[in-house]
């Protein structure tokens, strides 16, 4: 038989038994879709966490006050429980190393911002000029914090886009003086960047010089020191240098935690990857269950068509040809199931992305390939038995419908 005839013949059989075909398609496509959807969710979660950390910048070493035993994972390190102050002098002491390209001390607090009659509560970040480059942020207009001595409390601020829109509306923000707490600051720039980092929305941020923030919040202690290493390779050296320097300055006690985003990211990445593989695997099992359904339905199909198979033999079809015909039918069915499953799964993950834009729920390539492979393989394996049974039918008895 020529290939197009084999395909045509099995296609007509599929069309000839619509309810059986639809039932199998349903089982197949739902399983395939669930593989895609579940892995898309897992992958989306992984990407979300990845993105959250990637926004911190690459080659970043972060110093937090307080010591956590499992560096990088403890909740209290993330919250910043403070045993001994981390100061501007600590940060300055770190500037000397050749592998360190940039340093940004960080101070965070909240205050009420007001301009004319408009008021709102804002998050204020105190830092230095290098923060902009270090965090890969972009300005929409104006300039970032001036390059001055760190301890000079210049009364200027850079504001996030949302703050600009809410406080200034149609007015131009640049050059205006806004009040933060008791002090007045001149707006010198507006941030263009969107997105979040360490849980803070850049659009809702007001950035002022670190010394101004220390004065505003009335505390010398820093929230973080962000350090950018020259290269990925130099990270370890930078960490060691940082720990030694701080230890020396804090009377021989290492009371800070030095983390890299890599370490944290890896942990999350591993957990979420494992999760994705896990749900993918479970969904793949449902695909195998669909395979058992396929086997049963194909067995019924073969017994329904006993006389036809007998006839094919009488017309000169060998066992092998019958085998090929039935297997082709099962393969077509699987392929169709995969096709509809892809539509369902990809459509579903598109739906998730529309509903939750933060979650980049794309099914990973391996899940797409695997669900295709598993579907075709189960289709083949589970139709092997019915097909073999059909090919071995005694033509005389088959023609009598036994």
């Amino acid at each position: 038989m020529i290939t197009s005839d084999i395909l045509g013949y099995s296609w007509l059989s599929l069309k000839g038994y619509k309810s059986r075909t639809l039932l199998m398609l349903l089982a197949m496509s739902i399983s395939v879709a669930s593989v895609l959807l579940l892995t898309a969710l897992g992958e989306g979660a992984r990407r979300y966490v990845n993105g959250e950390f990637a926004s911190l910048g690459t080659n970043l070493v972060i110093v937090l006050p307080g010591r956590s035993e499992t560096a990088g994972m403890g909740l209290n390190t993330m919250m910043g429980v403070t045993p001994r102050d981390l100061t501007l002098e600590d940060a300055r002491a770190l500037q000397r190393h050749s592998a360190i390209t940039r340093i940004a001390p960080l101070n965070v607090g909240a205050a009420e911002a007001s301009w004319q009659s408009r008021k709102r509560e804002v998050t204020i970040m105190g830092s230095t000029q290098e923060l902009l480059t270090l965090r890969h942020w972009k300005l929409a207009s104006g300039s970032f914090l001036p390059d001055t001595e760190w301890d000079r409390a210049t009364p200027v601020c850079v504001i996030g886009k949302k703050i600009r829109d809410e406080i200034f509306g149609a007015h131009s923000a640049l050059g205006q003086w806004i009040r933060l707490g008791q002090n007045r600051y001149r707006v010198i720039g507006v941030m263009a960047s969107e997105g979040r980092s360490i849980g803070i929305d850049v659009q809702e941020l007001v950035i002022i010089p670190v010394a101004s923030a220390q004065a505003l919040f009335n505390t010398p202690s820093l929230f973080r020191i962000l350090i950018e290493s020259k290269s990925r390779e130099a990270m370890q050296k930078v960490i060691e240098f940082t720990e030694n320097t701080i230890k020396q300055r804090h009377h021989g006690e290492l009371d800070v935690t030095v983390i890299t985003q890599d370490a944290v990211l890896k942990t999350f990445d591993n957990i979420l990857s494992a999760l994705t593989y896990g749900v993918g695997g479970i969904a793949a099992i449902s695909l195998a269950v669909a395979g058992i359904l396929i086997m049963n339905v194909m067995l019924v199909a073969v017994s329904q068509r006993t006389a036809e198979i007998g006839l094919l033999k009488a017309l000169g079809a060998s066992r092998q040809k019958i085998l090929v015909l039935i297997l082709t039918e099962a393969m077509q069915l699987s392929l169709l199931g995969v096709f509809f499953g892809f539509i369902l799964g990809l459509g579903g993950s598109w739906g998730i992305r529309s509903a939750l834009p933060e979650l980049q729920a794309y099914p990973p390539l391996w899940a797409i390939l695997a669900s295709f492979g598993v579907a075709m393989l189960t289709g083949l394996l589970f139709s092997l038995l019915p097909a073999t049974k059909a090919s071995k039918l005694d033509p005389v008895r088959a023609l009598q419908g036994h």
Partner: protein
């Protein structure tokens, strides 16, 4: 052409052995017209199935067109069947989802013949069987006589040397039955070896050679005329 020597075909039913064919010796030459008659259960269908290689002898030897069938494997048999044998059944055995033309085409499709070659042959067969205007009808849209003519067209599309018909008129009324027999006989006149199993004595008399079977044996084998 066809040569059966000491053919036995036993069936095991429970702990009883049924001798469906009991020492059959039969020689048929190319172009003969044979009728096989006999009471129900006398082994007529078994004989026909054996000649058509749908069934195999328990013992004895069978050769078709000077080829020893007894020693062939399944694949070779299928090929020989496709090339030399045409079957016509009492129950038509048309595939319901295929049109008349597609049913007729099936043996060519199974033989792997290209569509461009098949097309004219099917066309011609439809014409010969007077079915041109029914070409695209499904079997359930055809009368019994038309269905059997589709089956005959299908059986002869590969131009086989032997046409085996097992009670071809059994499901037909008198008139369509005669039409079908006429069709089969005209094929025989063109050179095909025709073997018809029938209950109809009138039909049995029309054939050049008549075989009567009883209990798996050939009771008589005589020329009409």
């Amino acid at each position: 052409m066809i040569k059966l020597e000491h053919i036995h075909r036993d069936f095991q039913v429970g702990d009883q052995t049924v001798h469906a064919l009991d020492d059959i010796n039969l020689e048929i030459t190319q172009g003969e017209y044979l009728s096989v008659m006999g009471p129900s259960g006398s082994g007529k269908s078994t004989l026909l199935n054996l000649i058509g290689m749908l069934d195999h002898a328990t013992s004895g030897s069978y050769s078709l067109a000077d080829q020893n069938i007894t020693e062939m494997d399944e694949q070779q048999e299928a090929q020989i069947r496709n090339k030399y044998i045409g079957f016509v059944f009492q129950a038509f055995h048309l595939i319901p989802r295929l049109s008349a033309a597609e049913n007729i085409e099936l043996p060519l499709v199974l033989a792997g013949i290209a569509p461009s070659v098949r097309q004219p042959k099917v066309e011609q067969a439809l014409q010969a069987m007077n079915l041109v205007d029914r070409a695209h009808h499904k079997p359930d849209q055809l009368s019994g006589g038309q269905r059997q003519r589709v089956a005959i067209a299908r059986a002869t599309i590969t131009e086989p040397s032997v046409l085996l018909a097992d009670e071809p008129t059994g499901n037909l009324d008198q008139k369509s039955g005669e039409d079908v027999i006429d069709t089969l006989e005209s094929l025989n006149k063109k050179g095909i070896t025709l073997i018809i199993v029938t209950h109809d004595h009138h039909l049995g008399k029309r054939s050049a050679r008549a075989i009567k079977m009883l209990d798996g044996r050939i009771e008589s084998d005589q020329a009409n005329g």
